[in-house]
Structure formats: structure tokens, C-alpha cells
């Protein structure tokens, strides 16, 4: 198995915590992993992405070649489209629909959502809203990971274990809130993936 994943968002939105959980889950399953991050200047409110590759086989490149990503997970809707050149023909685009508007020429939301709807395999989820519903408003990231989880070749339980390891320092309550968010995202995707 292998999953090539592009994570995207805006600097400061915390896409790296998604990567950290998947990384832990990959280690638990004795998978190879490579994860290229963006540090430095772009972290200041600019467009950021991370290439995350997991596989049973040794992984060569830290970067995913164009047209080969299995999934794009985006915590911001416009940013999800920026990385379409990497998405494979059968790949899934899983994106949050809550926009992060810090530029003056941000596109019209209707037009933006219509572009996302054009893709044959997509999940568009209001992760911020769902996170609020499960009383975990700061865990929209984990909602997004949950929404993408049906398309990642890692047992769901391992993702929960990953959350446990990453957040255990912050106490059981935080761990549970994040697991609730993960679950809510997964349920949404299971209901909307066809």
C-alpha cells in the first residue's frame, strides 16, 4: 500500500498537526514515511503545503511527483485548488469549506465551491461548524483528518492512537475532544463519499 497526501492551508492554520498524527499512525503500522514541510517566511499567513508520503516500500523522493497524489487534504477551500496539478485522476480532494480571507482578491464563495464540485471525487465539509457541534471548536484540523481517513490506507484506530500520543501531554480532556472531532469528520465523509 501507499498513500501520497498533499496537506494544504494558510500559514498558522496548523496543517502540521494533521501530519504529526498521520506520522504517529504510520510508525505504529511499521510503514515508511516522508513528510516535507514548509518553514520560514511562508508561515506568516501565506499559502503553505506539506507533502506526506506513507508506504510499505522504501520511499525515494520527499516530494510527490505531479499527478500522483492520492489525496489533497485542505483546511482552507481556495488552498485546496492550488495543488490540483498534484492530484491523480482517481484522487480525492477533501477540503474544509470555511474560508480564511486575508487577501483582497479572495474569490466569490459560490464560484469557489462550484470549482470544487466539478471534481469527480471530493468531500467538502464545513469542518469549523462540525468542530463546534462536537464542542471541540479548536479541532477543525482533526475533523479534516477524519473526513480524509476513509481514503488513507491506515487503520482508523491507529489515527486515534496517533492523537493520543500527540496530545497526551495536554491531558485526557483534550485527547478526547480531538478524537470526537476525528470521529465526526469520518462520519461525515462516510455519509457523503458516494
Amino acid at each position: 500500500m501507499k498513500s501520497d497526501i498533499i496537506l494544504s492551508g494558510v500559514g498558522g492554520q496548523g496543517i502540521l498537526s494533521i501530519a504529526a498524527v498521520v506520522g504517529m499512525a504510520a510508525l505504529e503500522n511499521h510503514l515508511y514515511l516522508k513528510q516535507a514541510e514548509v518553514h520560514g517566511m511562508s508561515q506568516r499567513g501565506g499559502a503553505v503545503q506539506s507533502h506526506l508520503r506513507i508506504s510499505e516500500q522504501e520511499i525515494a523522493s520527499d516530494l510527490i511527483p505531479e499527478g500522483r497524489a492520492d489525496i489533497i487534504i485542505s483546511v482552507e477551500p481556495m488552498e485546496s485548488l492550488r495543488y490540483l496539478p498534484w492530484l491523480s485522476e482517481n484522487g480525492w480532494l477533501v477540503t474544509n469549506t470555511t474560508p480564511f480571507v486575508n487577501i483582497t482578491d479572495y474569490p466569490d464563495m459560490k464560484v469557489l465551491l462550484a470549482e470544487i464540485e466539478k471534481l469527480p471525487h471530493h468531500i467538502a465539509i464545513n469542518a469549523d461548524e462540525i468542530a463546534r457541534q462536537v464542542k471541540s471548536p479548536r479541532s477543525s484540523n482533526m475533523v479534516m483528518l477524519g473526513a480524509a481517513s476513509p481514503f488513507i490506507d491506515i487503520p482508523y484506530q491507529s489515527l486515534e492512537n496517533g492523537i493520543r500520543k500527540i496530545f497526551e501531554r495536554k491531558g485526557e480532556k483534550i485527547v478526547q475532544l480531538n478524537i470526537d472531532a476525528l470521529k465526526a469528520g469520518r462520519e461525515f465523509a462516510e455519509a457523503h463519499k458516494n
Partner: protein, 539 residues
């Protein structure tokens, strides 16, 4: 054995700790910062009390590292590529003095300039200094090379350069570690004048360095990091340096190469291996991230119809970092194209954070400059460089650390008035203090705004040497105390800021204005830490 999931930068740090390092010296700079930060937080490093505090700049770091080596202990110095320019004097001469304890100079280059002002290739500096360079392809190699480099350094008695690029530095992978080595004991150099580069001794030392070159080449020749992969189809041979080897492997999974491949990870070039592949193949494709360093050496000056292909003949783009697609194309393989980016997707450049003090300073500066005219503001390297972009468009230069003040001085000497510098607190103590002294020496009419947010912000909020002592430094350098003005950059003090800036711009001498308010990123983090501690206490 359980693997550690580490960034390439962190793998270097772990390799150095396990290899018996006694101290790391560095100034933060993307993409090298995480090496030192890892040592600062590593359990063994803390237990062993390894030195890991930040240095004022890369030159002081290099010199301190050399001092630790003089005392017989193992040291590592880390910097980004342009930091090596700052450290160059000490770096080049450290090859002439040679080392006592093992010394590693880890330099992170930034091809494609993700977070830098140029994409210079540090391998030229390694060659310039005539020392071995190690260039890992993977995080595991980054670990292994660093682990072994101290011994190589002590064997050859010269510093070793570790050269990585952004992509490896900021990519995570599983690492297998090796047994923890003891630190060296304090031990003075056998020759008490080894480090005295008086001409008479320097000439001797330099001859010694020249004499070592063939030994370094022998090391490269038998290095396990320089691997020859034979193959039948000799119409092409590929030389892949450092991380470029990964992009080659991506195109030929599980190392099933149809053509002979020479993987290069240790320099100087292993002559016999290079000669073999060049002789037995019709064409050679050189894959290297950065400048055409190896390619140029192989072609030489006169051979314009060379069988060597790469960045110089257009097989690979002349600039920018490599990726699997560029390498596929150069190999003549089919490249897949994904979907196009929809036209509605707008650019999203980085920007100053909401609530950042630099915003208030630029608002005040822009209003003041309405009275004095455009293009008189020199700036520097840091978050505040983003003031060059809309909506501020406030600054007219960003060249190298500290250049704002000295460029403002030169412009003032040429008749620009007022001539203004905008520099951050950490950049000021890195390389701005001597520049300010130049201004004081001639009482040049410049207005230096030191935007003090109490941290090294752009690289993620490292401690700043300037914190708590900026006024004393400026006054100590000779700026008149009445022209060292401290402000609080907040919207409610806008008018006061404009008034102070105007007063100092009208003054015909050196003035320093210090708007001071904590970086909102470090502020948010310290609040979070306090919150977690309170919660932990409550449990």
C-alpha cells in the same frame, strides 16, 4: 529498534549528539534553525550540559566552535547558506589552522529561495576552503554522516562541511540511531602554535592543507557514501549528488537503474569513480541541487560540446530546486500532468501577523514620510521585510544582515535626507552594531529605527541578544542619549510615533528610535504555556 521520526535538520542534531558532540553554535536561519533547537530540547544534550545557546551571528558561532575544537572537544557550527558568507573569514581560516577536537560546519542551502535572498551553493565554499564536504541524500544519511564526521575531522585534522538543502532539512523520516559516544576530554593541541596564523606559520599550515588533499580524495574514493551502481545500458550515465539521488530513485523504483549511476555524497570528487562512469558512458547527466558545481568541474572551460549534460546545457533548469518531475524530463521519461490550477485561485503571499508591532511602525513611518518624500528607507532581513509588500510599500532595500544602517549611511553621505534604516532587534545585534558605530564616528545624519519585538521572529521566535540592553548598546556605541527614543507601537500612540519620527528625521546627526512591543507569536505561545501549566496544576 524503534525509529525516531526526525526532520533532516534534526537528524543532523541527533547524529552530532550521538557522535560525542560537546557543543553547538549557531545563529537562527531558515532552513538550518531546527538543528540547534533540537539540541536545546534533547534530553541527553540537557543531561550532558552540551552548549546550545544561540550566538550573536554566524561568525561568532564559527569562532566559538573553533575554540571548542582547540580545547580538544567536538563541536558543530550551523547556519544557512548566506550565514556562511558572514562566517567566511573564520571558516576559511579554520581549514588552515586545522582542528583539534572534531569540528562540523553544517550549512543549509535554500535552492528556489523559499526563505532567502539568494540560492548560493555552499559546496563552492567547501572547495574554496579545501575541506571534505558531506552531502546526504536522506535523513538517515544525514544522521550517519554527522555521526561519523567528527572522526573524519579528527583523522584529517580539518573541519568537515555538512551540506544540506531546504527539502531535506524540512522533511521528516524514520531514523535508526547508533550507540551514544563519549565526549572528548579537554586536551590542548599538541603544537602550541597550530592556531597561530602568523605568515611564517600560516605558510607551513597551508602547505600541510595542500598535502592533505590527496588523502581527502582517497577518503572519498572508498567512502560508502559514494556508490557506483553498474548497469548495462551505457548510452547514458547519471551522477546524482545528495538529495538528487532520491529524485532519480523515484523514477527507477528499488534502485533498478537501466544506466550506470554514481551516487555522490562525499567530496572532493572520487576521481577513479568519476573517471570510470565518464569513460564508459556515451553521455553523462549530472543531477545536483544548487549550482552546476560538479557539472562545471567535469566540463572544464574549453569543452563546449561536452558529453556532460545538466544545468548548463538546459537538460535541467539553470535555477531552482530539483524535483522528481524535472529529473524525469531530463531522463527522457514521460511526465504526468495533473489538473490545471483554476484561474480563480489568487496568490496568497506571506504577510505580517494581525496585531504585529511592525504594522504600527510602518503605519507611522508611512505617514511621516509623506512630509519627506519617497525611497529613503533602507531595511533589513526579518519579518519586517514584508513591509516591502502592499499595503505598506514602506521600504526600499533588503540585502544582507545589518545592511540597512550602513546603506542608509552611504545614501546620507551621498545627500539623501532624511536617510532612514529599519532593522529588527536581533538583526541589529547580529550585524548592525558596527554599522551604527560607523555612523557615530562621523555623526552621519541617519535615523535608525530598531523595531524591537524581543525575539528573532521570522525563524520562529528564538531568543534575541538585544533583549533588555538595546538602549545601553546604542548609548555605549556613542549615540547621544537624548537621541535614543523609545516608543510603544500601538495604534493609540500613532500620533506620538509620527511626532518622534519627524523630530529625529529633522535632527542632523545619528538618532535611534526603538519602538518596543513583544512579538505576538511569542506572546501567544508564552500565554499558552502559562495556561497549560495552570491546567496541569489544577489536575
Amino acid at each position: 529498534m524503534e525509529k525516531l521520526l526526525l526532520l533532516g535538520a534534526e537528524a543532523i542534531a541527533q547524529g552530532a549528539i550521538d557522535g560525542g558532540m560537546s557543543g553547538v553554535y549557531a545563529y537562527p536561519g531558515t532552513p538550518s534553525t531546527e538543528i540547534t533547537e533540537y539540541v536545546q530540547h534533547n534530553k541527553i544534550a540537557i543531561e550532558r550540559k552540551l552548549h546550545s545557546q544561540w550566538s550573536a551571528n554566524e561568525k561568532t558561532a564559527m569562532e566559538a566552535g573553533l575554540g571548542m575544537s582547540y580545547a580538544g572537544k567536538r563541536a558543530m557550527v550551523c547556519m544557512k547558506h548566506v550565514g556562511l558568507n558572514v562566517a567566511a573569514d573564520a571558516f576559511i581560516n579554520s581549514a588552515i589552522t586545522g582542528v583539534n577536537g572534531g569540528l562540523i560546519v553544517a550549512v543549509a542551502d535554500d535552492p528556489s529561495m523559499h526563505s532567502s535572498q539568494n540560492e548560493q551553493d555552499s559546496r563552492f565554499f567547501g572547495k574554496f576552503a579545501m575541506i571534505p564536504i558531506l552531502e546526504p541524500a536522506s535523513q538517515q544519511e544525514a544522521y550517519d554522516m554527522t555521526y561519523e564526521a567528527f572522526e573524519l575531522s579528527e583523522k584529517l585534522k580539518v573541519p568537515i562541511m555538512m551540506r544540506i538543502t531546504t527539502r531535506l532539512s524540512h522533511s521528516r523520516a524514520g531514523i535508526e540511531t547508533r550507540p551514544l559516544k563519549q565526549e572528548n576530554n579537554l586536551k590542548y593541541p599538541e603544537d602550541p602554535i597550530q592556531f597561530v596564523l602568523l605568515p611564517s606559520n600560516a605558510r607551513k599550515r597551508y602547505k600541510g592543507l595542500l598535502g592533505l588533499q590527496s588523502l581527502m580524495e582517497q577518503e572519498s574514493e572508498r567512502s560508502s557514501f559514494n556508490t557506483y551502481y553498474p548497469a548495462r545500458n551505457k548510452s547514458l550515465g547519471v551522477i546524482a549528488c545528495g538529495i538528487a539521488f532520491n529524485y532519480l530513485m523515484e523514477n527507477y523504483p528499488v534502485r533498478k537503474f537501466p544506466h550506470p549511476v554514481l551516487q555522490l555524497g562525499q567530496y572532493p570528487l572520487p576521481f577513479a569513480k568519476v573517471e570510470k562512469i565518464v569513460n564508459e558512458c556515451d553521455h553523462i547527466l549530472v543531477l545536483e541541487d544548487g549550482y552546476p558545481f560538479v557539472e562545471e568541474m567535469l566540463i572544464g572551460y574549453l569543452d563546449k560540446n561536452s558529453k556532460i549534460k545538466g544545468r548548463l546545457n538546459g537538460a535541467i533548469p539553470r535555477d531552482g530546486e530539483l524535483n522528481p518531475d524535472i529529473v524525469a524530463k531530463a531522463l527522457g521519461k514521460e511526465v504526468k500532468f495533473g489538473m490545471k490550477v483554476p484561474a480563480i485561485v489568487a496568490d496568497r503571499p506571506p504577510e505580517l501577523c494581525a496585531g504585529c508591532s511592525h504594522r504600527d511602525i510602518y503605519n507611522a513611518l508611512n505617514e511621516t514620510m509623506k512630509e519627506f518624500g519617497k525611497q529613503k528607507v533602507f531595511s533589513d532581513i526579518g519579518c519586517y521585510t514584508l513591509g516591502a509588500l502592499p499595503p505598506w510599500n514602506s521600504i526600499n532595500s533588503c540585502v544582507d544582515m545589518g545592511a540597512s544602517i550602513t546603506m542608509a549611511k552611504g545614501a546620507a553621505d551621498a545627500g539623501v535626507h532624511p536617510s532612514i534604516a529599519v532593522i529588527g532587534d536581533s538583526t541589529f545585534t547580529h550585524s548592525g552594531m558596527t554599522a551604527l558605530l560607523d555612523c557615530v564616528y562621523e555623526n552621519t545624519p541617519v535615523t535608525v529605527i530598531i523595531s524591537d519585538n524581543g525575539t528573532t521572529g521570522m525563524t520562529g521566535g528564538q531568543a534575541s541578544h538585544a533583549t533588555g540592553r538595546l538602549e545601553e548598546i546604542c548609548i555605549g556605541l556613542g549615540v547621544k542619549p537624548e537621541h535614543v527614543r523609545t516608543l510603544t507601537p500601538l495604534p493609540k500612540f500613532h500620533d506620538e510615533m509620527v511626532n518622534v519620527l519627524r523630530e529625529e528625521m529633522l535632527y542632523e546627526g545619528v538618532s535611534v528610535v526603538i519602538p518596543r512591543r513583544e512579538c505576538i507569536q511569542t506572546l501567544a505561545r508564552s500565554k499558552k504555556v502559562v495556561k497549560v501549566k495552570v491546567e496541569e496544576a489544577a489536575q
